[in-house]
């Protein structure tokens, strides 16, 4: 029995020694003497933001809070298993199921609870009401980082190749596109697969035949824009590409086959009415007339809406009062020249009309 008692005494002595060692080398240590510290209490949702300056002889933050309990209208649970737990400040009581008072020391998250934070002269303390979600978000730091990324949009068939440099704090490429929606003239929809761009820089995608291919630093992206995490200095490129025909190989052959189409230009005010027959391998009318620009005495510019003819057969368009109306096989075209797909035997007509 004596042996047991001795061993118990030995263990208790070991606890005392280990406890002392912990307090000396690992535990938080306070500083004696008078200190001046500041304390800011922030409860955003109640518009509370008050700053106090205290002169104190205490060694730990928790002791200061106890002393200034009245000034701070503070309530706390002293006996929580985690030490002092602040449950209310400046009259605001926390809903402990969803929020807590976060402690910052000189702008950085405190490493201990209030009772373990040593008071140091000149330190600035902040008690800020936060939700639990904010505490556990490991990405919080990353989100706040400012990144500079390059963003290119290439739509070859419309001669669109624009480059942007964005400063952003967003995390994902999709968020950046949403943020810069106006600059990019972007329209998009949220799908099950993330953000899907339907229009960019004024170009409306035909989802049945084309898509925006994403390149990250020159390499094919492995995910959609919503899955691409941005890194400072990254280069992103959206490039309009067509879907490769999957099964219908004959169709593919036809596309590259030479087609014969009729092209009529009517300028009623000048009595111009000329008909051309073109052999072309191009896919779109705009591409064909680019090829035939000389024959058509054509001048044009590429706008956000595709090709816009400014002069044809020597006639200069007055863009304010007139336009070239497009007919495909006698029917009003549904898109501009850049959107009309050439089919063998088609008749395209451009008629000058007044607005």
């Amino acid at each position: 029995m004596n042996k047991k008692i001795l061993s118990i005494i030995g263990v208790i002595a070991a606890v005392i020694i280990l406890g002392a060692l912990y307090n000396t080398y690992l535990g938080p240590s306070g500083v004696e003497g008078e200190k001046e510290v500041s304390l800011q209490v922030i409860v955003d949702k109640e518009n509370i933001n008050e700053e106090f300056t205290f002169q104190t002889d205490h060694e730990f933050f928790g002791e200061l809070l106890e002393e200034e309990q009245e000034t701070l209208k503070l309530s706390y649970d002293e006996h929580s298993t985690l030490g002092m737990m602040i449950t209310g400040a400046l009259g605001y009581e926390v809903d402990s199921s969803s929020e807590y008072f976060h402690i910052l020391v000189n702008g950085e998250d405190a490493e201990y609870g209030a009772s373990g934070i040593p008071l140091i002269d000149g330190d600035e303390y902040v008690l800020e009401l936060r939700g639990f979600g904010e505490m556990d978000d490991p990405d919080e730091g990353e989100e706040a980082e400012d990144k500079e990324v390059t963003f290119r949009v290439t739509i070859e068939k419309e001669n669109i190749a624009e480059e942007f440099t964005f400063q952003t704090e967003q995390e994902y490429l999709s968020q950046l596109i949403e943020e810069e929606g106006e600059t990019l003239e972007a329209e998009y929809e949220d799908t099950d697969f993330g953000l899907s761009i339907t229009e960019i820089l004024g170009y409306e995608l035909d989802a049945s035949t084309e898509y925006l291919h994403i390149l990250v630093n020159g390499e094919d992206a492995e995910t959609g824009v919503s899955g691409i995490e941005m890194i400072d200095g990254d280069e992103y490129e959206l490039e309009l590409r067509s879907f490769a025909p999957m099964d219908d190989e004959e169709d593919e052959g036809e596309v590259s086959d030479t087609m014969e189409v009729t092209f009529i230009v009517t300028i009623d005010t000048e009595d111009i009415a000329e008909e051309f027959t073109f052999q072309t391998e191009q896919a779109y009318v705009s591409e064909m007339i680019e090829d035939e620009a000389e024959v058509l005495e054509l001048e044009y510019e590429m706008t956000d809406f595709g090709m816009s003819i400014t002069e044809i057969l020597g006639y200069e368009m007055n863009s304010d009062g007139e336009y070239l109306h497009i007919l495909v096989n006698g029917e009003d075209a549904e898109t501009g020249l850049s959107g009309i797909e050439i089919k063998d035997g088609d008749i395209y007509e451009l008629q000058r009309r007044d607005f």
Partner: protein
């Protein structure tokens, strides 16, 4: 009704009853001492049950005990740790059962277990919240781990032998093998 009737996986009705009662005794023991931080009888009882009843039944007791914790405190990562840490103690006790003869050996195991309790959970929590969190968790809890280890040793050195003796004699009297 014959209590020796086999029910499930070769377990007898009396096993089922015993496992339930002993799980309840652990929860009750834990709650009774919950007002003293890190002083507990759960480690001791698991060791006593392992020595007297065997590893398999005690492992089942630990599963029920850990599940009861979820009912009491809700689901969180530390509860998941309970499904691992108590079986580790049971298996360690089971391995040393034949080799350690005196209560000192078991008291030392219990003490080491208490000392490393915080470290185990720090490693476990690191998987969920990162190594930095785990390190902070461990460092913050070192004084409590020291207290846990010391109290485990003292409780075991005093109570291990008498409890094993009483428990084994009760089993001999009422438990039909």
């Amino acid at each position: 009704m014959n209590s020796n009737v086999e029910t499930f996986n070769g377990m007898k009705v009396q096993d089922l009853v015993l496992i339930s009662i002993l799980s309840a005794s652990l929860t009750a023991g834990k709650l009774a001492l919950s007002f003293v931080p890190n002083v507990e009888v759960v480690s001791l009882l698991f060791m006593v049950y392992t020595v007297a009843l065997g590893v398999k039944r005690t492992l089942l007791i630990s599963v029920i005990f850990a599940t009861t914790e979820i009912f009491l405190y809700g689901f969180s990562t530390w509860v998941l740790g309970y499904y691992l840490i108590w079986p580790i103690l049971i298996l360690a006790t089971g391995v040393l059962k034949g080799k350690v003869k005196s209560e000192y050996g078991f008291a030392i195991i219990s003490g080491i277990f208490g000392l490393s309790f915080g470290f185990f959970f720090a490693v476990f929590e690191s998987f969920f919240y990162g190594i930095a969190y785990g390190m902070a968790y461990w460092a913050r809890g070192i004084p409590l781990d020291i207290l846990h280890g010391a109290s485990n040793y003292i409780i075991a050195i005093i109570l291990f032998n008498p409890l094993v003796k009483i428990f084994s004699s009760q089993l001999k009297q009422y438990y039909i093998r």
